[in-house]
């Protein structure tokens, strides 16, 4: 029992939790922006893959790390735009379009990677983001280890939570985005463009999702692997419901998730010889399903989510 307490109180443990949570924070914030505007974006899994591949490849071609981050975001925005056009002005099924975008983004990323790098035995590596070392801050006890020995992308994810919360709840634009996901005809009657707001939210949200993918290839690892996203996008969709579409809760949800994952990795080293490794690998998915079940009864979906809007129609 005291072993468990030791784990939970260690700064390293929470640093690992935040590291595992980082791609999920990007993903949940991105998904939340789309869904707040009324659009479910199941393209997320493919957008993660596209961000991971495009960001990595840009750096590999010499774009520099922040250049890679920009390219990843642009790739995300591109696939987000496809999803937005199909689901907002054309009003097509958000489920099917999202799955289509995931299949398209994933296969296009794999195809481009394989075409650029035919038959490499081990994936080429890049010089990835290194942990920050801010004199003073990084040496602080606990907080220094947890927060300031992360890479810059983790700090960016935390900043995005704050910015998204501010924009959604403290600016007219945020009010309009929330309204367009709840009652689009009221927004239209204010003279605002429902299509413009929804398309904009989906494009920006998708660009943020793609950064979660970029974190995988440019910070967590330094190479691109097939299947590396491995359901993280879908987990983000579940966490968005768990977070009841609020940026602050999204951060907490992702951190809890990261903590569980970091904890089970440590548990695995203790009892791994008795329990098959797959049981531990299943945990994130089972945990996500449990999270959905817990909040299901009181989940307060944006009221116009999944509902296409046509001008002049009430």
């Amino acid at each position: 029992m005291s072993d468990i307490l030791d784990i939970l109180l260690a700064a390293n443990f929470w640093a690992a939790a935040l590291r595992i949570a980082t791609p999920l924070i990007f993903g949940v914030i991105g998904a939340l922006i789309c869904e707040r505007a009324g659009v479910l974006n199941l393209g997320i899994e493919g957008i993660f893959t596209a961000g991971a591949m495009a960001g990595w490849m840009a750096v590999w071609l010499g774009a520099g790390l922040w250049g890679g981050v920009m390219v990843a975001a642009l790739a995300g925005a591109f696939f987000g735009l496809i999803h937005a056009i199909l689901t907002v002005p054309l009003g097509l099924s958000q489920h099917v379009s999202g799955v289509g975008v995931t299949l398209f983004a994933t296969s296009l990323s794999y195809f481009i990677y394989r075409t650029a790098l035919p038959e490499v035995s081990s994936p080429p590596r890049i010089e990835a983001f290194q942990p920050l070392n801010i004199p003073g801050l990084s040496d602080l006890p606990f907080i220094g280890t947890v927060l300031f020995q992360q890479t810059a992308l983790t700090i960016l994810a935390l900043l995005l939570v704050g910015v998204t919360g501010y924009v959604l709840y403290r600016t007219p634009l945020g009010l309009a985005i929330r309204a367009v996901g709840d009652n689009p005809s009221a927004v239209e009657s204010q003279g605002l463009s429902v299509y413009g707001l929804r398309i904009g939210a989906v494009v920006v949200g998708s660009a943020i999702m793609a950064l979660g993918g970029a974190f995988l290839t440019m910070s967590a690892f330094d190479a691109f692997f097939f299947g590396m996203v491995n359901g993280r996008g879908w987990i983000c969709i579940a966490l968005t419901v768990f977070a009841s579409w609020r940026p602050g809760k999204a951060l907490i949800g992702a951190l809890l998730f990261g903590a569980f994952d970091a904890f089970q990795v440590r548990l695995q080293t203790e009892v791994g010889s008795f329990i098959p490794g797959q049981v531990f690998l299943m945990m994130p998915y089972i945990l996500s399903i449990l999270a959905l079940i817990i909040v299901a009864r009181k989940a307060d979906y944006p009221r116009a989510m999944l509902v296409p809007y046509f001008r002049g129609q009430r």
């Binding site: 199909l86 379009s97 799955v99 969709i237 579940a238 797959q278 399903i289 079940i293 009864r297």
Partner: protein, 360 residues
């Protein structure tokens, strides 16, 4: 300005023509990545056609590939018709395959006419039960089935890996994580000597006809369509909406489970954790190309299978990545989605002025 005007129910000709146009559009769009990869586009298409239809062997390979796609396509078509978003056919396929192996490797003895039905039934049941969970969570607790079915795919594939490395590992498998072979009495018969095509194709075609009959001629089929069009209205009209969802979930999962049965009991003969290169997800494309029509699923599966088999063959000849096939399939889904607009609406290109006049 583009304006959409609702259209009367589409004619059969239009229903057939639009997916064909979408498929052709996807193939034409594929010329862009092909050219990007440095291929001569025309000879590449030629190689693909030859690879899928150029010889009796190629043709039977295409039919073999279409077999699981017909079943996963039906799984998606049935579920989507009721607006039950089952995106878990991949996991249900593996569950079916696992059950088929559990029953078909000597659990029960007896002649083929006992063992084969037992294996088929076990696979269907396993797939159906896997889908029952998310369906009940949806009807009882309102948990979104899209995410639960997607996440279960990962859980089930990991479970299959666990079984193949643990209790169900073949002791004679030279250490590879694979199951014991299906016994001769439990294996689905081959349809042609020296070819891989197997009786799973018959199961798939019968399933398509069965689903067609169910949807068109039975009360349950009527209820499924009614629930899909408007669940609230169906409930108001006194239809058993919850029971319909459960029936649809079981049926959809069972169909995907059958795809797994065919792959292990018909094609491979044993189970590995990589028997499906995404047949479950591709089934969604098949169903959409078919406009959710069970008979259409057969043709859509043949088209998608010929792309996969043709691209594999082209890839071997030219060295270009066969992810091209996945790319074409994904583009086909997006194209057919857009073409669906022309089914539901008349698309009018009108001047801005006319719109303003109409508004006044």
């Amino acid at each position: 300005m583009i304006r959409f005007e609702p259209r009367e129910p589409a004619s059969l000709g239009r229903l057939v023509l639009l997916p064909v146009i979408a498929a052709v559009a996807a193939l034409l769009l594929a010329a862009i990545p092909m050219a990007f990869a440095g291929l001569n586009v025309f000879s590449a298409y030629g190689l693909m056609i030859k690879g899928a239809f150029g010889s009796p062997f190629a043709f039977t390979e295409m039919l073999t590939r279409a077999t699981p796609l017909i079943l996963t396509g039906l799984a998606a078509a049935v579920a989507f018709k009721a607006k039950l978003w089952n995106i878990g056919a991949e996991g249900q396929l593996y569950a079916g395959a696992l059950a088929a192996v559990a029953v078909g490797t000597g659990l029960i003895g007896g002649p083929a006419f006992i063992q084969i039905p037992a294996v088929v039934l076990a696979g269907a049941l396993a797939g159906g039960l896997v889908m029952l969970g998310p369906t009940l969570l949806k009807t009882r607790l309102g948990v979104d089935e899209v995410v639960t079915t997607l996440l279960l795919n990962f859980v089930i594939i990991l479970f299959v890996q666990m079984m193949l490395e643990g209790p169900m590992k073949d002791p004679m498998g030279m250490g590879w994580p694979q199951s014991e072979p299906i016994t001769d009495e439990a294996a689905l018969p081959k349809l042609m000597a020296r070819m891989r095509i197997h009786a799973g194709l018959i199961i798939a075609l019968v399933a398509a006809l069965g689903v067609y009959f169910l949807m068109k001629r039975t009360v349950w089929g009527f209820e499924i369509r009614a629930v899909g069009e408007n669940a609230a209205a169906a409930r108001h009209a006194g239809m058993p909406v919850t029971a319909t969802f459960i029936r649809v979930g079981l049926l959809s999962g069972a169909l995907a489970g059958l795809a797994g049965v065919g792959e292990v009991a018909g094609l491979k003969g044993y189970l590995t954790a990589d028997i499906s290169p995404g047949f479950g997800y591709t089934g969604i494309v098949v169903a959409m190309l078919a406009g959710l029509s069970p008979i259409g699923v057969i043709f859509a599966a043949l088209f998608i299978a010929s792309i996969f088999v043709g691209a594999d063959s082209m890839s071997r000849a030219t060295g270009v990545s066969n992810y091209l096939a996945d790319l074409i399939v994904a583009m086909a889904l997006l194209c057919v989605l857009v073409s669906g607009l022309f089914l539901r609406f008349k698309v009018r290109f009108v001047g801005v002025k006319t719109v303003q006049e109409a508004a006044e």
